[in-house]
């Protein structure tokens, strides 16, 4: 079975043969995987190199912590992925990007107006959490299409704060 795993936009291809032998991006790998405690701690020996990993199941794929680094892995077998990609193409949008709250918090300030063109990294919202003010910045240039919050409002994590439209021209 062939699997595609996506991490930080990079795709890895893993092939697992019926006898348990594997390749990673075409290279053969020898791997022994063991869950060592009920909390999701795994020990992986890959070509005799030892790794300890914490795995959390996600709605889709896994969150894997290797050493101090945590990766969100979107994994599926080839067939699944092809089907999904077909569906995604149909509903592909017009480049709108929702700006979401990375953490729950209190909206202290809104630094852009609807219709305003912003550069990449421009501050958009100041969110207070853990008694510190946190700036939410534009991940890319664009035009503020919609503002979903107001000052003084408490927002949950992942709540949409505003929607950033295509770079030039109102949509």
């Amino acid at each position: 079975m062939k699997y595609l795993a996506q991490i930080d936009g990079i795709t890895f291809e893993i092939d697992i043969a019926p006898d348990g032998s594997m390749t990673l991006d075409g290279e053969p790998v020898e791997a022994d995987l063991l869950q060592v405690d009920p909390l999701g701690l795994y020990s992986l020996l890959m070509n005799h190199k030892s790794y300890e990993l914490v795995v959390e199941e996600q709605p889709r794929g896994y969150r894997v912590t290797v050493g101090a680094q945590t990766f969100d892995v979107d994994v599926a077998d080839e067939r699944q992925l092809r089907m999904e990609s077909a569906r995604a193409n149909v509903s592909a949008g017009d480049g709108d990007l929702p700006i979401t709250a990375p953490i729950p918090g209190l909206v202290v300030k809104v630094l852009a107006e609807e219709g305003q063109a912003v550069e990449v990294d421009a501050p958009l919202v100041i969110l207070e959490a853990m008694k510190m003010e946190n700036e939410i910045r534009a991940p890319r240039a664009g035009v503020v299409k919609h503002i979903a919050i107001e000052v003084g409002q408490s927002v949950e994590g992942n709540a949409v704060l505003m929607v950033l439209g295509a770079e030039r021209g109102e949509s």
Binding site: V64, V75, M132
Partner: protein, 502 residues
Amino acid sequence: MFQKILIANRGEIALRIIRACQERGISTVAVYSDADRSALHVRYADEAYHIGPPAASESYLRGDKIIDVALKAGADAIHPGYGFLAENAAFAAACRDAGVVFIGPTPEAIAAMGDKVTARETVAKAGVPLIPGTPAGLSDDELLAAAEEIGYPVLVKASAGGGGKGMRMVFKPEDLKSSLAAARREALKAFGDDTVYLEKVVEGARHVEIQVLADMHGNVIHLGERECSIQRRHQKLVEESPSVAVDDDLRARMGAVAVAAAKAVNYVSAGTVEFLLDKDKNFYFLEMNTRLQVEHPVTEMVTGIDIVKEMIAIADGRRLRIRQEDVTMKGWAIEARITAEDPDNNFMPSTGKIVALREPTGPGIRVESGVYVGMEVGLYYDPMIAKLIAYGDNRAEAILRLRRALTEYRIAGVKTSIPFHLGLMDTPRFQWGQFDTRFLETHQPPVSDDIDERRKIAALISAMLLYERGQRAITFAHDGGREDGVSAWRKAALLEGLRRLV
């Protein structure tokens, strides 16, 4: 000696104080909010009392409720830790009025040092050198004018401040107005007082602080310095003792000034006098923290003196056992603050449930932690969840041990500052001790060089687990599922083979 002490705090510092009490045979009383029923300080204390909802203003800041619990539980004394009520003169006075010993300085000393402007005036009279700046209470327009005179960059500071809250560095006149507004907002929220003042920025300065201990009998000693220049947005991230910038002579001079500052307010208990130290070894008074400091363990490890136990003995009226000449520093200690913040995403607070945890141990490693499996790391309290302290015979060994311990740390469920610290330990300028308080603004610690390898590992294990999940139904049916000590992975692969043969 006290029979029972109430700890008016939570998290790692509550545990630190509980441990000191246990080592002196003193019973401990914990207080907890709704968010902390399962917290370690509740479980490690001898007794625990509920004091209110999660918001600190309704629980850990409610001095009245806490004093009630102390009286009900029969506690002789209250240790406030740091933060919350630790530098609240009114609370210290309320304890005194209720007949419960406040383990810390007098309300008068707290008040004198708590207002930054009063503090500057008081210590200046004792001959402590100050940074040029404005008085407090000026209007924005007056501050704008004053800033021109002092010369940019300037530092906006909250008069009632501490811990970097309400603090802003401003480089250009056009940014001052918005920074003043932000600082006032933060200060108002944090301290209920939006008074701010300006200070000249001492360029290339290190943050070096002196730990003092003072008893009720007029004895004041210092325990040497801590180097705290590794800061981000005025929040300390890494502290060490001693400092590479301080030699014996400078230590003696800074220590003497710190002792003079403490004596100027008739200080009693443990306290910290913070200085800016410039390249030419001139040092300027910043402020005095009238409480136990987050970074006190590095001083404990190099001096062998247990600061919390000394605080308890001092509050009990005992004379200091230690004379200045008995204080010797041996080896080197470095502390890394482990915070629930995502260093790859601008140190954004990270919330969630701790799903896996293993803390480092071994030679030279001390962990002060409030973390446990199942803990919900939320937004109610400070993001600092643990401290990792490494001791070595010299600075290089301490760095290497800290690095080693950081690689051993397993914590999952929230993002933490651990990758940042690992990167910092690998930064040559940090290793060489060449940094000032603005180091992190100009030096991005390197990202782990094996991130590519780790991505591969994460990809591989995900595919293996997905594959295994597909096989699990068969595995279960066959032999009751995964057995410990046997790689379920191998079994799944084997079964896959078997199935094809059938």
